[in-house]
């Protein structure tokens, strides 16, 4: 089952005239307006340095916008108090290109880590990690260390860690960047499954084949601005002329 995002309802993620200029003077984003409804699956595409990663960093509140407002679930991220930030991040599942696994922890411990910081009880951690391992088809690899896993398996562990606390949003920054095409496709299947369960997925990617095959919403960023926002788009604009535009 694929959930159809409801564009008529209030968006769960909303960028309103967002600008981001770094202290070095680099203007990473210029007047970005973007609305993401609950259950959406959105690809952020664009050349390197276009501003995708800045957008992701703003979404996880690693950075604050220089101008404009970002609302997630009705809360303005720029005005969120620091002590509230951990609670916000618990609603988000993060997946990165470099997996960000802890090498001295086993697969089980890496996934459990996301629950330990929430102060979950041991028995609950055990059950939820088992569920997450099942979702990413890594059952039986609990006691393996990341160094003994393939790239695809490591990314699956990272995805399991991202979804083990049942987040409402999954934000992924180039999750297939280090993977071969077959493995990348497997990982994408996982994201689709997570999205089908109701989680909103925002994914920055360079993977043209996947974007073109899945035909999900595509937001293209170029030179810090939104160049294109297609509801069912392709990686490049010239393939998408006949598509329905979201805005």
């Amino acid at each position: 089952m694929v959930l159809t995002p409801d564009f008529a309802t209030r968006p769960v993620i909303s960028f309103q005239h967002v600008h981001k200029t770094y202290p070095t003077g680099t203007e990473a984003l210029r007047d970005v307006n973007l609305e993401v409804p609950e259950g959406d699956f959105l690809f952020l595409v664009g050349p390197s340095g276009a501003g995708k990663s800045t957008l992701v960093r703003l979404l996880i509140r690693e950075e604050k916008p220089s101008k404009g407002k970002i609302f997630v679930d009705g809360v303005e991220l720029g005005r969120m108090k620091r002590r509230k930030l951990p609670h916000y991040r618990r609603k988000v599942g993060l997946v990165f290109q470099d997996f960000k696994l802890l090498p001295n922890l086993t697969v089980y411990e890496n996934i459990a880590f996301a629950l330990r910081v929430l102060g979950e009880a041991d028995h609950s951690i055990k059950n939820r990690v088992a569920e997450a391992l099942d979702t990413v088809s890594l059952y039986g690899k609990e006691n393996t260390y990341p160094a003994n896993l393939s790239g695809g398996e490591q990314q699956r562990v990272a995805i399991a860690r991202a979804l083990v606390h049942a987040p409402r949003f999954i934000i992924a920054d180039e999750p297939t960047g280090n993977l071969d095409p077959a493995t990348a496709w497997e990982i994408m299947q996982l994201f689709l499954r997570i999205n089908a369960r109701g989680a909103t997925v925002v994914m920055a990617t360079h993977n043209r084949e996947i974007v073109d095959l899945l035909r999900r919403r595509v937001v293209a960023i170029d030179a810090g601005q939104i160049a294109r926002d297609d509801r069912s788009g392709r990686y490049h604009d010239d393939f998408a002329k006949s598509e329905v535009r979201a805005q």
Partner: protein, 297 residues
């Protein structure tokens, strides 16, 4: 949940302490040395205050010499006036005869006593002043009294007392200054040790923050590790100081006999409390500062 977080923090701190054993031991050693210096400072301060207390009791006692022609009623009146003064603890009237008896009974005066004809000594009022700072004003009061011996009014040596008082204040200040310097040095040492540990674990901290750990959840293990380092150092320095305290006092006593030093076992418990508390607090403070930059979300 708090207990679970505490358990996690304790485990992490313990693991980190052993994982970076070389750095941890270097920190323990440095803080031990500093706490030994701080402990010696406290012990010397305590010995000095014991000596000064003895000295204070001595100099806060003044004798007012009574002129021979002063009527007894006049002396009693002044004695009562002094006894009523809240600054004065006690007043004792020593008659001429008693003064002579005391003089003769002192073995140091034996030869001199044999040569004395009659009684050249004054009767006197021995006054015990409560507070050392008031001795000068009591002395001034005594000098104004009509019955005082004008040639040798009192035995008060203002200059000497003032100098001793000043010296004791300077010593106290120097002790506190030295203690502050030592404490700052140990905070910096713990801070740098913890920074090294934090640097080794920066990836873990990044992941912690990304999965929604609170600042205290990240900071907790490091602060506990700092407290552990401080407490181990305090325990070692305390053990060394306790072992060395008595022999050091005995040695000093035999070398510099005129300073009335004494071994005070009761002070060890307060020294233990101070060192352990200082160790724990320094460790916690050093870690808190050391980890602050990395932990900030």
């Amino acid at each position: 949940m708090i207990l679970r977080n505490l358990k996690f923090a304790l485990n992490s701190a313990w693991q980190s302490f052993w994982r970076n054993l070389a750095v941890s031991l270097a920190a323990v050693l440095s803080i031990t040395l500093i706490l030994i210096l701080a402990g010696i400072n406290l012990l010397v301060g305590h010995a000095l205050s014991q000596v000064l207390d003895g000295f204070r009791t001595k100099v806060s006692e003044i004798s007012i010499n009574v002129s021979d022609d002063t009527p007894l009623t006049n002396v009693y009146e002044f004695q009562q006036q002094l006894a009523a003064d809240p600054r004065i603890a006690s007043v004792q009237f020593i008659t001429k005869d008693e003064a002579l008896k005391r003089f003769k009974s002192d073995p140091q005066n034996m030869i001199l006593a044999q040569q004395i004809e009659g009684n050249p000594l004054d009767a006197k009022l021995d006054v015990q002043v409560r507070n050392l700072d008031d001795v000068a004003s009591i002395d001034a009061l005594a000098r104004k009294w009509s019955g005082v011996d004008p040639t040798d009014p009192t035995n008060y040596q203002g200059d000497f007392v003032n100098r001793m008082l000043q010296l004791s204040q300077w010593l106290e200040l120097a002790g506190v200054g030295l203690l502050i310097i030592l404490l700052i040095i140990s905070v910096v040492i713990v801070m740098n040790t913890i920074r090294t540990a934090v640097y080794h674990r920066r990836k873990e901290i990044e992941v912690m923050k990304l999965v929604g750990a609170t600042e205290w959840f990240v900071r907790g293990p490091f602060v506990i590790e700092g407290v552990m380092t401080g407490l181990i150092a305090a325990a070692i320095s305390l053990a060394l100081l306790v072992v060395g305290y008595e022999p050091a006092v005995v040695r000093f006593k035999s070398d510099i006999g005129f300073i009335p030093l004494s071994y005070d076992p009761a002070f060890i418990s307060s020294l233990a409390r101070d060192l352990l508390l200082a160790g724990a607090l320094l460790g916690a403070l050093g870690s808190y500062i050391g980890v602050r930059r990395y932990v900030r979300i």
